[in-house]
């Protein structure tokens, strides 16, 4: 980015709530059914059908709002957003407008620019403000390809029509693509922690639009903004923002003007394109939805829900960082998901060694999971067993090298470390007397080398270590072996 300029970014996130049924009817809200199979008069927008609010939506929206420090309005109002589109069966979307479910929230999270290799330059905490979180229904999906008569026809699948969403609108608080990236990552993490969204961007459970403008550094007035849509992955989001910021700066420097418009990110070409200009913008003619009474939530209700909210990702990261003396990177990785954090804390508890637990979880566990293409929730090694393994390494029952072998086997078989050590005969020999007897045998078997060592060829010490290891199949404790060998050779 040009040093004379500053980017101003605001984000609108649509998150699908993972309720069992849709927001205004009892149809299943889970994807995967045959096209238009999860539908009824309500979500098809049939004449005469009426919406009835799903209570689970309210409890999930409450969780999301609380997790983002939003102020929940005791009374909020549903509104109709009117526009024509084939996948919008009623010709309006039921959303919220001037009295949203919640307002005035914030998150305070670590954020950092990245170097060329994508590594964080310096993590700093920054507070980003959230304007509002409101409840609305999703539309269906237009299908233009892959159907029997796609050459001449478009199709509509209304299974998604009426799936509940929350729209989370931020203040224009982001000054770079990476700030936006870190914020969306955090938002996703928070919604996952709260158990209200599956966070899958590819499947559209989390969608992101961005408002981008640039201004001269130090200027107070915002520049003209462009809205960018279709940012359906973290990579798209970051790349599209960088592209758009550069495009706007370049335009201004060349004496051009930014026009208010909606642009679409095209990932193949790595560019944003104009989708519609301000003149073509919709007049949504919002008005209060007469079919639904105002949504009221009591202080008691909010209180009850907040009791069931888990520790939130940033609070947990901070706690873990300080309690277990982790680095920022480590604490971030270990709190990536609630399940990962739970797992780590269980391993720590079982092993009694937070440091070693962190090392092993972040290296061995993550690698095995990645190779197996598994999530932490599918991990075949229980945190208890993993903790036991870490403990066995910590107290030198087995060496780190053996530990890796045992862990691989644990991951493959799900067996306990004790059992595998037994089976593999891997237990370390830590009894000095036993080691001494092995050492003595080895020295006796190599009189020539012993003579040379005695005459000052110190380098042969390594030879003896190797022979002892060989004789014990690598099971002797290395430190003890060193000590005993030295004692006998130098005697």
């Amino acid at each position: 980015m040009d040093k004379d300029f500053e980017a101003v970014i605001g984000l609108e996130i649509h998150a699908q709530l993972k309720t069992r049924t849709k927001i205004f009817c009892t149809c299943s809200a889970i994807f995967g059914g045959e096209p238009n199979s999860d539908t009824c008069p309500v979500c098809l927008g049939l004449p005469g059908a009426l919406p009835v609010l799903n209570k689970e939506v309210v409890s999930m929206a409450t969780k999301a709002a609380l997790a983002l420090n939003l102020h929940i309005n005791h009374e909020s109002i549903f509104a109709r957003k009117n526009y024509f589109y084939p996948d919008l069966p009623k010709g309006y979307q039921i959303s919220q407008y001037d009295r949203p479910f919640s307002e005035r929230g914030w998150v305070e999270i670590p954020t950092s620019e990245r170097d060329e290799q994508g590594r964080a330059v310096e993590w700093k905490k920054k507070r980003f403000h959230i304007t509002r979180l409101h409840i609305e229904e999703d539309a269906g999906k237009s299908i233009h390809d892959g159907m029997p008569q796609s050459a001449t026809k478009s199709y509509v699948n209304l299974n998604r029509s009426g799936v509940p969403l929350v729209e989370i609108v931020s203040e224009p608080d982001f000054r770079s693509s990476w700030e936006a990236y870190d914020y969306v990552q955090y938002l996703r993490k928070t919604l996952l922690y709260a158990g209200v969204c599956d966070g899958n961007m590819e499947e559209g459970s989390l969608r992101c639009d961005a408002n981008v403008s640039v201004r001269l550094r130090g200027a107070e007035k915002f520049g003209t903004k462009a809205e960018i849509k279709n940012l359906n992955s973290f990579r798209f989001l970051q790349k599209a923002l960088d592209y758009e910021i550069d495009r706007q700066i370049k335009t201004i420097k060349e004496g051009g003007k930014i026009t208010q418009e909606t642009r679409l990110w095209n990932d193949k070409e790595g560019k944003t394109y104009v989708m519609r200009s301000k003149e073509e913008a919709h007049d949504y003619r919002y008005f209060p939805e007469p079919d639904l009474p105002p949504l009221t939530v009591s202080t008691q209700y909010i209180e009850d829900i907040s009791q069931h909210l888990p520790e939130l990702p940033e609070a947990r990261r901070e706690r873990l960082q300080h309690l277990y003396e982790l680095t920022m990177e480590e604490s971030m990785l270990l709190t990536q998901t609630k399940e990962m954090a739970d797992y780590y804390e269980q391993v720590t508890e079982a092993s009694g060694n937070a440091r070693l637990a962190a090392n092993w979880v972040l290296s061995e566990l993550l690698r095995e999971l990645k190779n197996a293409g598994k999530e932490i929730t599918e991990c075949p090694v229980t945190a208890r067993d993993f903790g036991d393994l870490v403990k066995l390494i910590a107290d030198n029952t087995i060496s780190g090298k053996m530990g890796k072998e045992v862990f691989e086997k644990m991951f493959q078989t799900g067996k306990s470390p004790q059992l595998l050590i037994e089976e593999l005969g891997l237990k370390q020999i830590t009894d000095p007397a036993e080691i001494e007897s092995i050492v003595k045998t080895v020295v006796a078997a190599n009189p020539k080398q012993f003579e040379q060592y005695k005459q000052g060829k110190q380098a042969l010490f390594g030879f003896f270590v190797g022979q002892v290891m060989k004789a014990s199949q690598g099971k002797v404790n290395p430190q003890l072996t060193n000590d005993i060998l030295k004692k006998i050779l130098d005697a």
């Binding site: 004449p47 005469g48 009426l50 003619r285 008005f287």
Partner: protein
């Protein structure tokens, strides 16, 4: 069995005595429909086969000793903007010409559960928009009292069907007077319940904050009976009330001594037809002779009601009717090359001119820059009108006024002047804006023999009081006249 003047009570007595059967009365009804419908154009769809099959089942149940449920075997007409499963529901619009809903409205389910036999779908103004039934894509309904005259609207088919004895009871819908005005024009009883009293699920929406389904019948007792069946909480409709449903029939004591009847001083103003004025004043005297106490009340903001109504109703309608876009069901103009063109041609050719006028009005009042001046202001006036009524009801139990300012007018008389047509609703729209219940009962005739209706209005959820007064009046001052058809 004589169908003329047949009420549920009389019909059930005849069933009990074995004088008739459900099938016989249904058959006679269909014979009469076949004879009279070509002139009256009351029914858009007749469900003869299913009705007769059901009639036979009910007769078997009766023979097996079944109790008479409240609407057992009653031939019933359903306004064609109320969904009936697998039975064509057009809203009298070309855009829904072929539409067969996969579900029934809650009111229809409840009627059928109470034994009613649906005989057909009644003509109406397109999407219930109109006061004369001339806005139907399937032609005007004619007034059984004089075929040159309109039956009122929008539930003109339902009211005319009851008046012409082409059913015993009917369901209409009332957004700004659409049950009461045609009841008045056709000389029958029509009730608009309190907003929230009856489920709207399956009633094709026009003005969602105003719409209510209501019964049209030959007397107040039958309306009480039907209301008792259709009223009450329905989880499908979030605006339906949880207030329990009283026994309306039990409320019909015939005694209204001491009832305070409020006459709004604003009701008898310029533009009120002299014959209507005379009949209503007569009716007020009749109420007095039954022991009611007449008091003057004031509804000072009534003059704003029409304007207010046509902002709120059209705003909601413009949104409610957006779903008729040719994408999913109903009419689609085949001659379109692009999506935009499909929308435009489908809606231009699918909707009639009054519907399009209201969609445009409603779109306008909700537009950015106009919303505050129209829609928001209209909502404020609505609150003021509610306060007017709350205050008036501090001084009286019921309010009485004309149902319509004029007797049934001639077909074509007002079709070129939408504003004059809108004024036919001057006494009814306020009641919908405020949400209180109102009933129109026969109040005599013009010198030309055309019916005039008297409207009674009660506070929220006081339908029992409303029906009690209507019933008491009808008992002492029965009309005893039937259309000569």
């Amino acid at each position: 069995m004589e169908l003329v003047g047949l009420t549920v009570d009389k019909f059930h007595s005849a069933l009990k005595s074995g004088e008739t059967t459900v099938e016989a009365v249904c058959k006679a009804t269909f014979d009469r429909i076949e004879k009279l419908n070509p002139d009256l154009n009351v029914y858009l769809t007749v469900t003869k086969d299913s009705a007769l099959e059901r009639a036979r089942q009910l007769d078997q149940q009766l023979a097996a000793g079944a109790e008479l449920s409240p609407l057992f075997g009653v031939p019933t007409a359903i306004k064609d903007n109320i969904c009936t499963k697998d039975v064509r529901t057009t809203c009298a619009s070309k855009i829904l010409d072929t539409f067969k809903p996969p579900y029934s409205a809650t009111v229809v389910e409840r009627l059928e559960a109470a034994g009613a036999v649906v005989v057909g779908k009644a003509n109406c103004d397109e999407f219930a928009m109109g006061s004369s039934n001339e806005n139907s894509a399937y032609g005007s309904v004619r007034n059984p009292w004089n075929l040159e005259h309109v039956p009122g609207g929008s539930s003109g088919g339902s009211a005319a069907a009851v008046a012409a004895d082409l059913c015993i009871v009917a369901l209409g819908s009332d957004t700004g007077g659409s049950v009461r005005e045609p009841a008045s024009f056709c000389g029958v009883t029509g009730l608009k319940p309190t907003y929230g009293r009856v489920s709207r699920y399956g009633l094709v929406a026009f003005g969602s904050s105003l719409d209510q389904v209501g019964p049209i019948s030959k007397n107040a007792a039958d309306s009480a009976r039907v209301l008792g069946v259709i009223a009450g909480r329905d989880w499908h409709d979030s605006t339906s009330s949880e207030i329990s449903v009283p026994d309306y029939l039990a409320a019909l004591t015939g005694d209204i001594k001491g009832l305070k009847l409020g006459v709004p001083k604003e009701a008898f103003v310029e533009g009120l037809h002299p014959e209507v004025k005379a009949r209503i004043q007569e009716s007020i005297k009749n109420f007095e002779s039954l022991g009611a106490e007449i008091v003057e009340v004031s509804l000072p903001h009534s003059e704003y009601a029409i304007a207010d109504y046509y902002i709120i109703a059209t705003a909601e309608a413009s949104s409610n009717l957006a779903r008729y876009d040719g994408v999913k069901y109903g009419f689609r103009d085949a001659d379109a090359k692009t999506l935009q063109e499909m929308y435009k041609k489908t809606r231009d050719h699918g909707f009639g001119s009054e519907v399009k006028r209201r969609i445009m009005l409603g779109t306008y009042v909700l537009s950015s820059g106009y919303y505050d001046a129209y829609y928001l202001k209209a909502q404020k006036i609505r609150t003021i009108l509610e306060q007017d009524f709350r205050k008036a009801f501090e001084a009286c139990d019921l309010i009485v006024m004309p149902t319509a300012p004029v007797p049934p007018f001639k077909l074509g008389e007002k079709t070129d002047d939408p504003l004059a047509m809108y004024l036919a609703d001057i006494y009814t729209v306020t009641i919908n804006l405020v949400g209180v219940p109102g009933i129109s009962i026969p109040s005599g005739f013009t010198s030309d023999g055309l019916p005039i209706g008297c409207q009674l209005i009660a506070p929220h959820f006081e339908e029992a009081r409303l029906l009690q007064a209507a019933d008491a009046y009808e008992r002492s001052y029965p009309s005893n006249r039937y259309p000569n058809i």
